[in-house]
């Protein structure tokens, strides 16, 4: 199997496992049962039943998922299983904001409504790489290491040609993680607003 197919299937399978881990977490099972269920889920996701494994069905719908999605899915699995948070809330908040900004810049123009196509910058643009460098340095200065590590992982995967795509955008962002980030930001905003409204005066 080509490495790009293996990596693509792994990413889709990992997302499936993150969903399973989230469900298992709500059942409040003992640690042994949680690990056993995750192992069973891994078999169900990656071992072919019939022609294709379950991960391939998801891959047919979503294509290859970005490294950012993989990092978040991997962290979700570990957090749900062990209870240990790998990304601080402050880092998550900034990551969601960056993803939302990137999505708002990328996707509307990629629909072809204007001659400008930001997606083509991902094939090799000094300007694009420089903006990404500035964002990474700012994150490093603010000690937002989760953001830094996600950019490093995406950059490494891109340089290694891990996916079928040769576009850097595809390693950084995908529609799923963009929608997830927007939903989390809006949900946080709604909670903040409702908290302000219900807070007693004085």
């Amino acid at each position: 199997m080509p490495a790009s197919d293996a990596f693509g299937l792994f990413g889709c399978g990992l997302l499936g496992l993150a969903a399973v881990a989230t469900v298992i977490h709500r059942w409040r099972l003992p640690a042994g049962a949680r690990y056993a269920l995750m192992l069973a889920a891994a078999f169900a996701v990656f071992i072919p039943f019939g022609e294709l494994p379950a991960a391939a069905y998801l891959r047919g719908v979503t294509g290859d998922l970005s490294v950012t999605t993989l990092c978040l899915a991997g962290c979700a699995c570990i957090t749900r299983l062990t209870g240990k948070a790998l990304i601080e809330p402050r880092e998550r908040q900034v990551l969601y904001q960056l993803l939302a900004l990137a999505a708002l810049f990328l996707y509307p123009f990629a629909l072809g409504w204007t001659p400008f196509d930001p997606y083509s910058l991902g094939y090799g643009s000094i300007g694009f790489v420089t903006v990404l460098l500035m964002v990474t340095l700012a994150a490093w200065r603010a000690k937002l290491y989760a953001v830094v590590f996600i950019v490093i992982a995406a950059g490494l995967a891109y340089l290694a040609g891990a996916y079928e795509s040769r576009n850097l955008w595809d390693y950084l962002i995908d529609p799923l993680v963009s929608v997830y980030a927007l939903v989390r930001l809006l949900s946080g905003l709604r909670h903040r607003l409702s908290g302000e409204v219900t807070q007693p005066a004085g």
């Binding site: 069905y57 090799g124 040769r166 529609p175």
Partner: protein, 385 residues
């Protein structure tokens, strides 16, 4: 050093290395070249008018569509099309047949790709197959691009590429081309690929997700998309066909899906495809249908199109001596009283090419039930009717 120190300075060092790699990748990328010069070694065929027409074999499929072809060794033609119980059905497969100009006949069709095989080899779900497009890369290998859909209708399409080292007898497993950030959906192909001087292959594609617009992909020798250029934008242009005439100059024609008047769209480039003019409507009509064009060995531009604004019943040929500024309609291939009609009066999706001997070949969908091949020469085109 403390754990925090390792984290801080280690992450900075790793980021520095990765960004060094990214900058090296960008800086060392070869600068895109212009179009490869068009082949000029063709011999113009004999002065005697030549016209032959036949239907390609079809022993199984109730519905066939979207023919494409490439010239292979010995002056033969290898054609591809898709067929099945109906367009978009899960039993649609891509077929091939071989034409021998000496015998003037086509071989029995055979399947080169099915939905099941595509699904297995692409390692993801595939619901249906669509348009195939044939061509050659700079290494001379036969390439077959084809559309597949995993979810939804044609707006959910993606393009796949497989190559053959033996003129289409055997094929590599398909490779998925990634050309859109939206789950890589909504990229389709209809026009022939072209060559760039730097060895890259150009593939005109179009998108149908919320908008309808064309793009030109650049593929490296392994079939990865390494750059793309927008040909048009908005919601009314699709199926670009690009015809270069020099390293810098090309004209492209596009199917029009907007408000009347329904006309063929034309765009041009004068810098090897890096930038394209805004689409303008040509004088020729277009009933939201595919167009085909070829630059003839004598420098004239030949266009196959449906000569009507509302239906695909009239399939005609027009010629331009000024690279697409003005047109003269020369022949009506389908739609007049003398042509034998198909059960469904639709003659569409033309594919046109000139072989090395100078003969012109045209393939098109004949009544959705067969693919028709018409072979003619310039003497027949110009002969008074």
């Amino acid at each position: 050093m403390t754990h925090g120190g390792w984290l801080r300075w280690g992450s900075l060092a790793a980021a520095a290395l990765v960004f060094a790699g990214l900058y090296v990748r960008v800086i060392t990328a070869p600068s895109p070249g212009g179009f490869a010069p068009p082949q000029t070694a063709r011999v113009v065929s004999s002065a005697a008018p030549l016209y032959r027409a036949e239907l390609l074999p079809n022993s199984t499929a109730a519905s066939v569509h979207s023919a494409t072809a490439a010239e292979i060794s010995g002056g033969r033609l290898r054609a591809f099309w898709y067929g099945g119980s109906r367009e978009g059905a899960s039993d649609v497969a891509i077929y091939t047949s071989l034409y021998s100009p000496k015998e003037g006949s086509w071989s029995p069709e055979r399947v080169v790709m099915t939905r099941e095989l595509a699904q297995r080899q692409l390692r993801r779900t595939v619901r249906k197959l669509g348009n195939p497009v044939a061509g050659r890369d700079r290494a001379g290998r036969l390439c077959l691009f084809f559309v597949s859909v995993s979810v939804g209708g044609w707006a959910g399409s993606a393009i796949n590429l497989m190559v053959s080292e033996d003129e289409g007898e055997t094929w590599s497993p398909p490779r998925r081309l990634v050309a859109s950030p939206f789950f890589n959906i909504s990229t389709l192909v209809k026009g022939p690929p072209l060559q760039f001087a730097d060895g890259a292959t150009g593939l005109p594609v179009y998108h149908e997700f919320l908008g309808k617009f064309g793009e030109l992909l650049r593929l490296d020798a392994l079939g990865h998309v390494i750059q793309k250029t927008r040909l048009s934008w908005g919601q009314s242009s699709l199926q670009p066909v690009i015809v270069p005439r020099s390293e810098t100059e090309a004209v492209a024609f596009m199917r029009y899906a907007g408000n009347p008047p329904n006309r063929i769209l034309v765009i041009r480039t004068s810098d090897g495809g890096a930038h394209w003019s805004a689409p303008v409507k040509a004088a020729l009509p277009n009933p939201n249908a595919a167009i085909a064009s070829v630059l003839l060995a004598d420098g004239r531009l030949l266009l196959a199109f449906n000569n009507a604004e509302e239906n695909r019943e009239d399939l005609s040929l027009a010629i331009s001596e000024d690279f697409g500024d003005t047109w003269r309609i020369l022949r009506r291939l389908e739609g007049d009283s003398s042509s034998s009609g198909a059960p469904v009066p639709e003659y569409s999706y033309p594919w046109i090419m000139q072989d090395r001997a100078g003969d012109i070949h045209m393939l098109y969908t004949w009544g959705r039930s067969r693919i028709k091949h018409v072979r003619f020469n310039t003497a027949w085109l110009e002969r008074r009717r």
